[in-house]
Symmetry: C2
Subunit: 229 residues, 2 copies
Amino acid sequence: MDRILYELCGARREQVFSPFSWRAKMALKHKGLDFEARPHSFLEIPGIAPEAGRTVPILSDGERIVCDSWAIATYLEDTYPDRPSLFGGDGGRAACKLIEGWANAAVSARVAQLIVKDIHDILGPEDQAYFRESREKRFGRPLEEVQAGREERLADLTTALLPLHLMLKSQPFIGGEAPLFGDYILFGTFQWARVASPFRLIDPETPVGMWFERCLDLFDGYARATPAA
Amino acid sequence: MDRILYELCGARREQVFSPFSWRAKMALKHKGLDFEARPHSFLEIPGIAPEAGRTVPILSDGERIVCDSWAIATYLEDTYPDRPSLFGGDGGRAACKLIEGWANAAVSARVAQLIVKDIHDILGPEDQAYFRESREKRFGRPLEEVQAGREERLADLTTALLPLHLMLKSQPFIGGEAPLFGDYILFGTFQWARVASPFRLIDPETPVGMWFERCLDLFDGYARATPAA
């Protein structure tokens, strides 16, 4: 296989949970491009392609190495223009940068504080030590404290998702009638939580939950085949 | 003039502050279409075109009457396809529905609580009575209480704008290198506040503030020509 997507896994190799890697994998599936996904631990990642970057996802496509989910999406769009579009035009590509900002700052940042200890718990021992030290430095307190009281913070996540809730009154996907990269951006956040944590973030009976289920069904249930925690 | 955009004004007719009307007016300017803007008071609006809707903006374009800023934008895009696109393709149009949800739920909802008493104060006496009753019912408390302590809530607005702040690291407009309807959606929110309230929401020296200034400059300073409160 000439096309390899390097991603992150927990102690068990099927626990592939990186939200950014899921964005890239869904983009590859959308383009109909075959690829081999190669899971690595946190500590192995900096050695994969240090000249390209030290975080996943990293795409190796023949001679090209591309790091970062946004760079991968735009690389795929520009390199394979005859395949289904990820953006639906230049306006969609530009708008996705705002959607990426929203997914990262308004949604993923909240989700992280709901599941960070659960993420720690699925890692191997060496990754656990690295993860605890780096994340406790970022949050300024123990992982257990960051995650504590999460039931009370679920309402805040629901409020943060109101933009999607409102949008779903008029269309089934961020891409409109069918999904585009904007959907995969946000999908990555919820798939991250689904794979790494047993804590249920969204009720599957709500419009937002049904949107997530539709994304899990895409490409013959590609993302659903990765087991939930 | 065959094309009329009905909008909302305060006691002084130049105080045209409706955020949704600004979305529609910027869309008309973007399309390069001439129009006459006709400001009305809150109490006059239901009588403009009751068969079309009871809120502004209302566009009368020859024989057609279109109510609602989103409906106006899509009407203009579909009716004048040879003019500059408002969405930059179908992906951009779909993504704008999420951006609209974000602007309304995450940004305008916060801004409303920062300026609602100031809006009241620029209205004529009859509109003031209507506005106070309807908004106090919505918020469940006096307008003065809703607005009180707004200095402390500015940081929350800045956090809500992080998605835009992040996006501006890679492009100057939501539309990419040039503005599209996604910019006008959010612009309407800040122009609403600029016209109705002396309270400064965004520092013009920040990336978000500079984006707003760029929008004020568009179309030969069209929106800037409406005086700030």
